[in-house]
Amino acid sequence: MDVGIRISRLRKVYTSPPPAGALVRGGPMTGVKFFKRPEKKKYAVVALDDVSLEIMPGEIFGLLGPNGAGKSTTVGVLTTRVRPTAGEAWIGGFEVWRERVKVKRLIGVVPQKPNLDFALTAREMLTYHAAYFGMPAAERQRRSTDLLERFQLTDRADSLVTGFSGGMMQRLSIARALMHDPQVLFLDEPSTGLDPQTRLLLWELIRDFNRHGATVLLTTHNMDEADALCHRLAIVDHGRVIATGTPEALKRSVPGGFVVRLKFDTVSETLAARLAQIPGVTEVQRTPEGGVDLYADRGGTLIPHVVNAAAAAGATISDVHISEPSLENLFLHHTGRSLRQ
């Protein structure tokens, strides 16, 4: 079964604060546009602004962006939990909003914050979940035992979830999402709050699931995760897709690859012109905070030239930061902001 995802000109405007349980957990809506309608004292939050994407069957695809970029809303729309304002989204042959029930059969969802059923034991949670999908009782038992074993939860299988650690809850969430054998798996910020060891186990489980031909869509604001796990990425910000491609291709697309972030007491035109003439520098960008970003094909060896240029222009350097080719630089290049900001 080859099930891909297609998103066409998707737009989502929240006209009231998103209801608590509705999103498959969005972060706080920072960085989205707020504006007041003159006639009513209501606000509108543009979470998705004309997003189009195509995700191939069998791909591990990542949505990379800061909090509030629209990642969770995209997952919300694709998992039938958020009604799009405009545009369409397809999972396999089904348009998501019009054929919600059919879509729900194809997908498994791991939310950003655990939403486990605290009134049930780990095993019951898996078996009831499978029962919602009409799986026969014997198969439910067999499959749950199997998954509990694979996710290293067997010794706690028959205890209530209260008292599970964050890592155990996350593993159980994924086990539950896999219980009905979905064709497409959605993971919203899967490794947030996990220790490095559990994170590696999680990545292995995701790769293992994908190996059998299933499609995976995950959101993250962690570049290492995106780099290590995803076949292809979309970088999103302010509800728009800024760039798509393989992690390698995206990193190569940053002019030069290296970024040297500089701060001066004053930045004059002369200084900017002198910096642009340094050998190896491909682009000079002034930053709003009174600094300069140099995109270049080398890092540390530029510094003597920078010092000379500053001295010639009569400016004093107050800060220097060199970063090697990375998705972080790519994000910076397109938005002028760091992912962590």
């Binding site: 209801p19 608590a20 349980g21 509705a22 919600r100 939403n115 059923d117 009134a119 919602y132 999908f133």
Partner: protein, 256 residues
């Protein structure tokens, strides 16, 4: 509608209710039973109330126990689910229209209300002692009434649970449920309000009135009570209103 998923969810709720059977029973029954003891036993035995008050009180107590347990069985989990636990998300992702998730909750809540009613009758009977003059001459009317009251309790619970947040639970009891109980003809028949003509009309907007008056007409027809047409008409109307309102609020909470 996906019957398999619907039944599996009922199974899940039954499992959870069995696990919490005793606390649930106590939560719903202690207060009404205290009422039964003080008003039905202490006041009548001491002669401050006539002995016939026992019989007048029992139908109201059955109504109130069913209404409270059905209402709480739906409202509390809904408030918790949508505000912080989000347990319900797993069910919203089941291959079934989400409205059926809400309807399943209403069915589960009304089953709890029916069980509460079934426990109240013998318990109250024991506490009230002799002198009770209750008739079971119309078992089918009684059963139909019980089912409608139970469904209405759960539908009111759905509406409140999907409209209020955690911080408003206290307000819900003092400003909504409290007045509904006391102006619900629970401890007195509707005809007793004849001296307050405006109030007597206004309380007809309270769905609880039709539950207490209905049980009074079925179990103790010797007392004045609203006619069967008014009772069944009122119950059907309020079932429709609260189910519609509850589903509307549920959709708002469940879909972004």
């Amino acid at each position: 509608m996906n019957l398999q998923a619907f039944l599996a969810m009922l199974g899940r709720d039954a499992r959870v209710a069995r696990r919490n059977f005793l606390p649930l029973l106590l939560q719903n029954l202690v207060q009404p039973m205290l009422f039964v003891f003080v008003f039905g036993r202490v006041m009548t035995t001491s002669g401050m109330m006539p002995e016939s008050y026992k019989t007048l009180l029992l139908p109201g107590i059955i109504a109130i126990s069913m209404l409270l347990s059905g209402l709480q069985a739906v409202a509390f989990p809904m408030i918790a689910d949508f505000q912080f636990s989000r347990e319900i998300e797993d069910r919203l992702l089941a291959p079934m229209e989400i409205e059926w998730v809400a309807i399943e909750k209403v069915v589960a809540g009304s089953i709890q209300a029916l069980i509460a009613g079934g426990v109240v009758i013998p318990t109250a009977w024991l506490i009230l002692g002799k002198g009770l003059q209750v008739s079971f001459a119309q078992p089918f009317e009684l059963l139909a009434l019980a089912v409608l009251v139970a469904l209405m309790a759960a539908a009111v619970g759905l509406t409140l649970g999907c409209s209020l947040g955690q911080a408003q639970i206290g307000i819900m009891f003092s400003l909504i449920v409290g007045p509904m109980i006391f102006f619900g003809c629970t401890y007195y028949p509707w005809s007793a309000l004849a001296a307050f003509p405006i109030l007597q009309k206004v309380v007809l907007l309270n769905p609880f009135v039709y539950a207490s008056e209905g049980f009074r007409s079925a179990l103790a027809p010797q007392f004045p009570h609203l006619s069967g047409y008014v009772v069944f008409g009122g119950l059907l109307l309020f079932n429709g209103i609260f189910l519609w309102l509850g589903l509307k609020q549920f959709r708002k909470k469940a879909i972004g």
